[in-house]
Amino acid sequence: MSCRLLLPALVAGALLAGAGCADSTDDRPVSFTYIQGAVFQQSCATAACHSGHFPIGGLGLDSVDAAYAGLVGAPCVDGEPPTDPLLNFVRPGDPQRSRLVHLLEGTDVPWRMPPDAPLPEPDIELVRNWILDGAECN
């Protein structure tokens, strides 16, 4: 194959990849540290949004400690049960009444988060499962 055709072939392969090679099961860890790194850091803690010294809405999601404190309203202490004030983004054990889930789903809120592009459903499900498991800082 000439080099003029090699790159388009690679791009075509990349564009088609994922159509049939991904598992239907999600074995990712239901832990806050994983969710913060895999989801929040890359999709929410971008430069113009929930990061730095001037995060939007005062909610910084760029570190595990800041994200946990901002979402759950408690310091991140492994094994420590979170508090449950009504205004928190997360209500431990109750994803359906957690504002974080509403924001990610775009239900009962002015706009969905992230506003530029929604999270894939498996990522939202990971957040739901973490809340259902008690929303610990694990």
Binding site: F54, W111, A117, E121
Partner: protein
């Protein structure tokens, strides 16, 4: 979604067909179509973008647009030789619809207001500073002002070695202008994600090599963005084809990511068509859990007449190849018109599919550079 993408495709195709074939054109990112080989021929930055050199201003007015005065302030005042100035202003209005929220979102916001300055200290040394307002699609940007770029550079000639220290995007991949494209959004080059770097390289007409060590901006970006390093190599094969390789490592407090990829740019003289492609693969470890990612980007641009560019792009980004329905795809159609020097009007349609959710964005951008 498919019907809307098809309608956008038909609209763009009609524009392309209706326009007659004209003079071969150039555009800064399409360096080969005008015989301009390197980004640094038109821009002071060795990797392109930002303040234009005299040659770049001339190209933008005479070759890319439908004509006009190319000078700063239209020649009303000429800066001294040691000073170069410029500015970019962009405003956007548009509408976005998403399938799962069944709601239309109207967008109207200032995208960019940057003033560029470059101070030369002799032949080789310079200081470049960009100051400007921060645009935001929603809400009020905080802080409202910022500096995307500020760097000190040693570069004796536009070819040969150079060293840069300061804030800018590390040279990597295709460096598309649109920050929402996956090659920028998910590769660490999103809006205002310029890093603090020590960077150096060698640029020749038929090849270039850049090496960069990076740290995030602690004020505007925060601890979630990575430290790292990157390498980029690009080589010309003849006058119409260039290929490149790039690699990057990123490390934050909870994740480490290794990226490797390639690029290609191919200008077809006959149909006046530019083909650009990028493929990147990434292996990432998050809190000791690995995942593999894949990104593909294909972009076609056609210059039907001087002052008009019609483009289309498709992109795929698999966030985690081991988990179903975590990939996203996008298709873009763009019509860019450069009616006179200093002016650009862009009409863009973008469709995106993420699992079962799809969204369509249409927007109009007006760009003025000084």
């Amino acid at each position: 979604m498919r019907r809307q993408v098809l309608l956008l495709s038909v609209a763009a195709a009609l524009v392309a067909v209706a326009a007659s074939s004209g003079t071969a054109l150039a555009y800064p990112q399409f360096q080969m179509s005008s015989g301009t080989n390197r980004c640094g021929e038109c821009h002071y930055s060795p990797a392109g973008g930002g303040l234009l050199r005299e040659w770049g201003r001339s190209e933008a007015a005479d070759t890319i647009s439908r004509g006009g005065d190319d000078e700063f302030l239209y020649g009303a005042w000429e800066p001294p030789k040691w000073l170069a100035l410029g500015a970019d202003f962009r405003g956007v209005t548009g509408i976005k619809e998403s399938s799962d929220t069944s709601r239309s979102e109207l967008l109207l916001f200032p995208m960019q207001a940057d003033i560029y300055s470059r101070f030369a200290f002799g032949k080789s040394l310079s200081l470049s500073v960009t100051l400007g307002g921060r645009g935001a699609a929603r809400g009020f940007p905080r802080p409202p002002l910022g500096s995307r770029e500020h760097y000190l550079m040693w570069q004796p000639n536009t070819t040969g070695p150079y060293i840069r220290i300061g804030r800018f995007y590390a040279p990597f991949g295709l460096r598309q202008t649109d920050h929402t494209m996956y090659v920028r959004r998910y590769m660490g080059f999103y809006s205002w994600e310029e890093t603090y770097n020590v960077s150096g390289g060698v640029i020749e007409d038929d090849w270039e090599l850049h090496a960069t060590a990076s740290a995030p901006d602690p004020v505007q970006v925060g601890t979630g963005r990575p430290y790292g390093g990157s390498l980029m190599y690009e080589r010309a094969v003849g006058s119409n084809l260039r290929w490149g390789l790039q690699a990057k490592v990123e490390r934050t407090n909870v994740r480490t990511r290794y990226i490797a990829g390639g690029t290609g740019k191919w200008y077809l003289d006959g149909p006046k068509l530019m083909v650009m492609a990028e493929v990147d693969g990434a292996r990432e470890s998050i809190d000791s859990t690995p995942r593999t990612q894949l990104l593909g980007h294909l972009n076609l641009s056609y210059f039907p007449v001087q002052g008009v560019m019609v483009g289309a792009a498709v992109e795929h980004y698999a966030e985690d190849l081991s988990v179903a329905d975590t990939a996203r795809d996008a298709a873009d159609l763009m019509i860019q018109v450069f009616p006179r020097s200093h002016w650009e009007v862009m009409l863009m349609g973008r469709g995106e599919q993420i699992g079962d959710t799809h969204s369509v964005l249409g927007f109009l951008m007006v760009h003025y550079y000084l």
